[in-house]
């Protein structure tokens, strides 16, 4: 191998060296360590005790685990639809010169500026059954029957929490699509005008395909965010009432840090990771296919 060749072969690895080393030490290493922990019983203090798959066996009989899993799936389902459709719609609308579009963009993005904790606090207050804004307004307009304990009734609590997440997510998706729309090829749009395509056709045939890379990013982010959901639940309900709004990340945290069951907590996070991994594999095969084709 000559020098020049060696250099080109080595270059990507040199670029990757520092980030990968740091990533391995702080993230991947601890991650594998927690995989190992999922096979142990560990209180976080004494030495971990290897117990094989016992944690997982317990997991499949644990009703709270299923509730949490179901809630995560609901979260994903909502995130894959409402914020994406709304975010794209808003981005498309604000991408033209509507008066005040800059202001509008800022407004939709504003919730993102607030942290999840702050958002959770503000909304908890809107949801307050006695003096909160939502029930107060419902009662004022004669819809008092709809007023309820938004965060205390198992039937609605999850939806109430996800609403807050959607409120934040829409602006995020909007920004990503706005950025994506900037890079759209004007010539194709002009060409479609020449071809006499109407707005709807143009949207589905010209714009949407060009936004595909952004859409992939949006979808991946939506899934990650849904699976990692933690702060809103922890601030607004702590998983209550009786675990009906629990999600896997919170359940894991409670088991590991409140109940001193690190091993069991680790097992929950392994499941969470597996679900995520299924999505990544799906995403990666897509990439591989694209690259072998193109």
């Amino acid at each position: 191998m000559n020098k020049a060749k060696l250099r080109t072969t080595l270059t990507p690895y040199l670029f990757l060296a520092v980030p990968v080393i740091i990533y391995m030490i702080w993230v991947i290493g601890p991650m594998f360590y927690s995989f190992y922990l999922s096979l142990t019983k560990w209180d976080g203090f004494s030495a971990p005790q290897f117990i094989g798959l016992a944690n997982f066996r317990r997991l499949i009989t644990d009703p709270v685990f299923y509730t949490s899993l179901w809630n995560n799936l609901e979260w994903i389902a909502v995130f894959m639809t409402i914020p994406i459709v709304m975010g794209l719609f808003i981005a498309m609308s604000l991408n033209r010169d509507i008066p005040g579009s800059k202001f509008f963009k800022a407004c939709f993005f504003a919730p993102m500026v607030l942290s999840l904790v702050v958002s959770g606090l503000v909304w908890s207050w809107l949801y307050n059954p006695g003096s909160g804004l939502i029930n107060t307004v419902l009662r004022q307009v004669g819809l008092g029957d709809l007023a309820r304990g938004w965060l205390s009734e198992p039937e609605v609590v999850m939806e109430a929490v996800i609403t807050v997440a959607v409120w934040r997510q829409v602006g995020y998706v909007m920004v990503l699509y706005l950025a994506g729309l900037q890079s759209i090829d004007r010539n194709l749009i002009d060409a479609s005008h020449v071809d006499g395509a109407n707005a709807v056709q143009r949207f589905f045939n010209v714009i949407l395909p060009q936004l595909a890379p952004v859409t992939v990013v949006v979808i991946v982010i939506s899934i990650i965010d849904s699976l990692r959901a933690f702060d809103l639940v922890s601030v607004m309900t702590r998983g209550g009432p009786f675990n009906s709004s629990s999600v896997l990340a919170n359940y894991m945290y409670i088991q590991a840090f409140n109940n001193y069951r690190m091993g069991y907590g680790a097992a929950i996070s392994v499941v969470l990771f597996m679900i995520s991994a299924a999505f990544i594999v799906f995403y990666l095969t897509r990439i591989v296919r694209e690259e072998t084709n193109g």
Binding site: F15, I98, F104, S115, L116, S183, S269
Partner: protein, 279 residues
């Protein structure tokens, strides 16, 4: 820009109305938070949520500032956030460049590594990383928190930056290679300027995330003197659960830096976008 001519004036008016309504809904929680912070808790409890404020008071801001010790915690948040942000952006742009620019063995494996790590709920890493930091002797230092922020955010940043870098035409780099530029030079003077919008977007998000972190600081820092502003907020929430005005005032104050970053980067962001579209 993309599509100005396609809609009739009526359609545009309808669209405008629709967006306006949405914006109003979107603003309600923010407005409520803002108004709340200027009221007193007693006023809210006695007159209710919808009543006009009896008095406008800055007292809750003062209370939040002093009870939450924000004067100590706020600077710490910057000491933690700024190096974390720059560290993670610098490192992830290197990794993203490698993944977007070169075809090499293990390319997808590395990509999977970065994306995979972001899929894990970070809370499970708390104790292992605490052990690691303790073993490295950086427990209870800013470095411990900065190191994990840099490392943990690498995954997401690399993912986003790599995707943007993929859209940069390869010819630009090929011609630079022909001109004799080194890869490092191409990375610095071609790739980075072309991906400024992506950097701006990622930096905004990362700033909010890192700035608002609480759990890492809680586990990796022992001394009050080094804790970030979220600690102060937690203290305010403590048993003051009922004093909404103070909590919300504190929360708003802690949000101001993020707001600035957003406003500042948004300008950058737009400049970057025009630069990107002229390619």
């Amino acid at each position: 820009m993309a599509d100005t001519r396609s809609f009739s004036p009526t359609m545009r008016a309808v669209l405008f109305a629709l967006i306006s309504i949405l914006v109003l809904i979107w603003l309600v929680p923010l407005v409520v938070a803002f108004i709340t912070s200027f009221r007193t808790n007693e006023d809210i409890l006695t007159n209710g949520f919808l009543a006009l404020p009896e008095t406008i008071s800055l007292q809750s801001f003062a209370d939040a500032w002093s009870r939450g010790n924000l004067d100590i915690y706020l600077p710490n948040s910057f000491i933690i956030t700024i190096p974390s942000l720059f560290g993670t952006l610098a490192l992830s742009s290197l990794a993203a460049y490698a993944l977007a620019r070169f075809k090499f063995k293990g390319r997808l494996a590395f990509y999977f590594l970065f994306v995979g790590g972001t899929m894990l709920p970070f809370q499970i890493l708390l104790l292992p990383v605490f052990r690691l930091s303790d073993a490295l002797g950086i427990y209870d230092t800013y470095s411990a928190v900065i190191a994990i922020h840099i490392a943990f955010q690498l995954g997401f940043c690399t993912f986003v930056l790599r995707n943007y870098m993929m859209t940069v035409p390869i010819q630009l780099m090929e011609s630079a290679v022909l001109d004799g530029a080194s890869e490092l030079r191409i990375w610095w003077s071609i790739m980075i300027p072309l991906t400024v919008p992506a950097f701006a977007a990622v930096a905004t998000l990362e700033f909010t995330w890192i700035f608002n972190d609480y759990l890492w600081a809680l586990i990796l820092i022992r001394s009050s003197g080094k804790m970030p502003v979220t600690t102060g907020l937690a203290i305010l929430q403590g048993q003051y659960v009922q004093d909404w005005t103070v909590i919300i005032s504190g929360a708003l104050m802690a949000t101001i830096p993020t707001l600035f970053v957003f406003v500042f980067l948004q300008r950058y962001f737009i400049a970057g976008l025009t630069l990107g579209s002229s390619k």
